[in-house]
Symmetry: C2
DNA sequence: AAGCGGTAGTGGTCCGACCACTCTGCTGGC
DNA sequence: GCCAGCAGAGTGGTCGGACCACTACCGCTT
């Protein structure tokens, strides 16, 4: 029998696996409060320093949430919580991988938009329109970008798949778009973007999934192609 | 002027942002070695403990790699490195979100298989066939699962989009599949799985993207539907 | 009963020490 | 001259303790 653990990897990694296992097995429920760092460290037989590293790591992964002065809690483990780190990928990617990311986004966004066309209700449609008009009413690039993001976010939410929406959120992270679109929009692509957004909106109003899919794919594909040529030059 | 940093968030978070920024700005190249923990802590004006938490967090995210006794290095920042954490999402998801994950996988896998049908070469096709025959030649569930994973992994690789392949890898993580497929395969779905894999293979041989897309979508969709009914019961 | 202040307890930070491992360069024998 | 082996310095990994910043709760005052 092994009284002591099998000594695989660092103690911090073992602690992370232990906590993850407790959650996976249902011994820790979403929202539940964990024992204190000091108690946890004592239970697993390691120092508070190492335990803190494990907790910090799980915090950035969106599994745990630490509240200063209160305690450590399991997050709701919703798609948004766990997929927040997806944005890091987008932020640190350069060159060819940006095209790959846009390709993934084109596939998911077109499908999400098609689903949204079939399912979207009046309330959500009103929200989409709000951002569409606000986007067309200003010339401030920052504001345009914000409404552009919200426009697609509303559509993704209307698709009814939170996981997909969270992934798309990461693929459209603010810094990512700012980096890619800066050059794109400078080439006078504002008008084209407006036309494409209008086409997507029309398809949503008509509840026409195929038209929505095509419009969204073309919308992302335009940027994708532009970026491809930029890199090839 | 601010001689000291603007004091936003914890010092550990600031350290993480600092290192990420250094990589994003190109001051740190993939594969490059970082200063020692002690030096980094001194440079950013914080303790080694806090710096270690930041490093550990970035290590978990796949951005850094710590080699005991040698130093800390920036990873190659490839899709596989950064998207490894995607598996955590799959491992900790339950109930309705499993269906959502399968839906995302169906969309990406069908597209990846379609791309593979158009692009796959003789060598990769041989690899796919190897796993297909090996999968049909045994009754050991563990071995079947391993070849099943490799089968789809080869196809994803042949699609030519490393980012998409890395995401699919996370969505097909061993524990995820083991959890879902255990029940599915127990209902005598082995034969159906074999037929579906054969259909995918035929489409690849024929270099028929649309047939490949349909076959892959049906393949994942079968499991998706089964899981949906399981949850509804 | 409501407001308020104090206090115990929590996570956040820092320090210093030691351990385990890697790499390098020197030493010794062949 | 060359190579195996050893020893040292340097690195990340772990530990224990101390103190700070903040939160929550309890009891006191009004």
């Amino acid at each position: 029998m092994d009284e002591t653990a099998p000594q695989k990897g660092t103690v911090t990694q073992r602690a992370m696996e232990h906590i993850k296992a407790m959650i996976a097995e249902g011994r820790l429920e979403p929202g539940q409060r964990l024992p204190t760092e000091r108690d946890l460290a004592a239970q697993l037989g390691l120092s508070r320093s190492s335990m803190r590293e494990a907790i910090r790591a799980l915090t950035v992964l969106g599994v745990l949430e630490a509240r200063h002065g209160s305690g450590i809690y399991v997050t709701q483990l919703e798609a948004g919580d766990l997929l927040e780190t997806f944005g890091v990928v987008a932020d640190l990617s350069r060159g060819p991988r940006l095209v790959e990311l846009l390709e993934v986004r084109r596939i998911l966004e077109s499908t999400a938009t098609a689903l949204a066309a079939a399912r979207i209700g009046a309330d959500q449609l009103a929200e989409v329109e709000k951002h569409l008009t606000a986007m067309n009413a200003t010339d401030d690039p920052e504001e345009i970008l914000a409404h552009d993001l919200a426009f697609h976010r509303e559509i993704a939410a209307a698709a009814g798949n939170d996981t997909m929406a969270a992934i798309l959120e990461g693929l459209s992270s603010r810094t990512f778009r700012a980096r890619v679109w800066r050059g794109y929009e400078e080439e006078g692509a504002f008008d084209r973007t407006r036309r494409e957004h209008a086409a997507i909106h029309r398809a949503l109003v008509a509840h026409d999934p195929e038209a929505a899919r095509a419009a969204a794919a073309a919308h992302v594909g335009e940027v994708e192609e532009w970026l491809r040529t930029q890199l090839g030059a």
